[in-house]
């Protein structure tokens, strides 16, 4: 207590569910000079009206205490003031900060992608509805064996930057080609929640970039293709060349409104592929995409169009 502390507010809880009641008491110690014996205690929420408490009573040792219950705290953040009347002025004795919000919902749609350029595993999720309270999200993970039944050593928590719903686990914390269990934990003063758990090997969720597709120019050493045919060449995305991949070509005549024609199961590297069955007069749009073969993986997006 400071030298001559006059008033002090105590509240039932500094943070409550939005709309829940909150009870506060303001007590004035007798040794607060300037005040007459039975000072009238008043309350004010933010810049609302000054109002009497529900009850004011005189406690042992001459302490005056007023108690008030706000039935529904609808401010996510508000100041509650305790006043006393001194002559014709009101004097603030104490101020309490009230907060209201919601406990965090379960983070949803957790998904991860392995970035081969930065060699980091990037996971993102949906945080769920606004809680109006400072809420910390943490991406937690454990190394594990087999299909994630047994957890082994924990990986360092990944804390996203403020307000972001993704986090990047650096290479040095990853054990590639082994499964790991990953989930998101959300926490604020009103509670904690956890997302569903993923069980994945980072190398099975590689974000694959499309291959590079070229048309082979006609040159002396290249046997010209038969009529209605084209020579094509392609190469997988460089950082992924250590992965066995299978690719797919699709082509479509321009302006004819026809749908795409697809050529599946192409090798990841094509030195000279002859595409036939084309109308010589038409211009064709060609695209290619690849996927890890024989092992789990995601399709890359389609490569930029090649016009021929």
């Amino acid at each position: 207590e400071s030298l001559e502390s006059c008033g002090h507010i105590r509240i039932s809880a500094p943070v409550v569910h939005l709309g829940d009641p909150i009870t506060a008491s303001c007590s004035i110690s007798p040794n607060c000079s300037h005040l007459n014996q039975e000072p009238q205690i008043l309350w004010q929420l933010e810049d609302g009206p000054k109002q009497l408490g529900d009850r004011q009573q005189r406690l042992p040792q001459g302490i005056q205490e007023s108690t008030i219950t706000l039935p529904h705290l609808n401010h996510t953040q508000a100041f509650l003031f305790c006043f006393v009347q001194l002559g014709n002025s009101f004097q603030v004795l104490d101020q309490a900060e009230l907060q209201a919000g919601y406990p965090p919902a379960k983070p949803s749609n957790l998904s991860c992608l392995m970035n081969l350029t930065t060699s980091s595993l990037i996971c993102q999720w949906e945080p769920g509805p606004e809680t109006y309270l400072p809420t910390n999200f943490t991406l937690k993970s454990f190394r594990s064996r087999a299909d994630c039944q047994r957890w082994e050593d924990p990986v360092l928590d990944c804390v996203p930057e403020d307000g972001q719903s993704y986090c990047s686990i650096p290479r040095k914390h990853l054990l590639l080609y082994q499964n790991m269990v990953i989930w998101v934990q959300a926490e604020n003063v009103l509670g904690t929640s956890e997302s569903l758990r993923l069980c994945l090997d980072p190398m099975d969720v590689v974000k694959l970039e499309p291959p590079t597709l070229w048309a082979l120019d006609f040159s002396p050493d290249v046997v010209p293709p038969q009529p209605g045919c084209l020579w094509l060449r392609w190469e997988p995305w460089k950082p992924s060349q250590f992965m066995d991949q299978e690719c797919e070509l699709r082509y479509q005549a321009q302006f004819s409104g026809t749908s795409w024609t697809q050529v599946p199961h192409l090798p990841s590297r094509g030195h000279r592929f002859e595409l036939c069955g084309l109308h010589q007069a038409l211009v064709y749009t060609l695209q290619m995409r690849c996927i890890r073969s024989l092992l789990p993986g995601h399709w890359s997006s389609w490569s930029p169009s090649l016009q021929l």
Binding site: R171, L176, Q178, D244, L295
Partner: protein, 168 residues
């Protein structure tokens, strides 16, 4: 012979290719940065520094034995992991490639070790790291780096052939 799961073989082959690619990058960077481009010119120095080479005799096609081949593969990877660690601080430009290479070698060693455990052929205790050469000068550390990286490339070539053999 002991059956090796297809996914283990496919993942191991991919890990070897991943390490070979990174190992090649480190060799190119050592050549570009320090003009040390011919490992064969460092043989004498390698001998005097005591840079070890990991044996893969049980993985050669003539004398292929799965159990001891996996063991040699695992302890060879630990050896090169140690050698690469001795190169730490070689230079900021190479540090990133070196770190990534070390992590990939370490992760591949774990893949092999866990498969040995699954097959029940893993020794009771993981082999400890052998003593690493000490480098008395920046040049010796660089030359050691070139030798270790070039030996690792040969080692991975033999490992790849053995794994492909198991896969057939």
């Amino acid at each position: 012979p002991l059956p090796l799961p297809k996914s283990f073989l496919l993942k191991s082959l991919e890990q070897v290719r991943k390490i070979q690619a990174k190992d090649e990058v480190l060799l190119e960077q050592l050549c570009a940065t320090y003009k040390l481009c011919h490992p064969e010119e460092l043989a004498l120095l390698g001998h005097s520094l005591g840079i070890p080479q990991a044996p893969l005799s049980s993985c050669s096609s003539q004398a292929l034995q799965l159990r001891s081949c996996l063991r040699q593969l695992h302890s060879g990877l630990l050896l090169y992991k140690g050698l690469l660690q001795a190169l730490a601080g070689i230079s900021p430009e190479l540090a990133l490639t070196l770190d990534m290479l070390q992590l990939d070698v370490t992760n591949f060693a774990t893949t092999i070790w866990q498969q040995m455990e699954n097959l029940g052929v893993a020794p009771a205790v993981q082999p400890t790291q052998n003593t690493m050469p000490t480098f008395a000068s920046a040049f010796q550390r660089r030359a050691g780096g070139v030798l270790a990286t070039s030996h690792l490339q040969d080692f991975l070539g033999m490992a790849y052939r053995a794994l492909r053999h198991f896969a057939q």
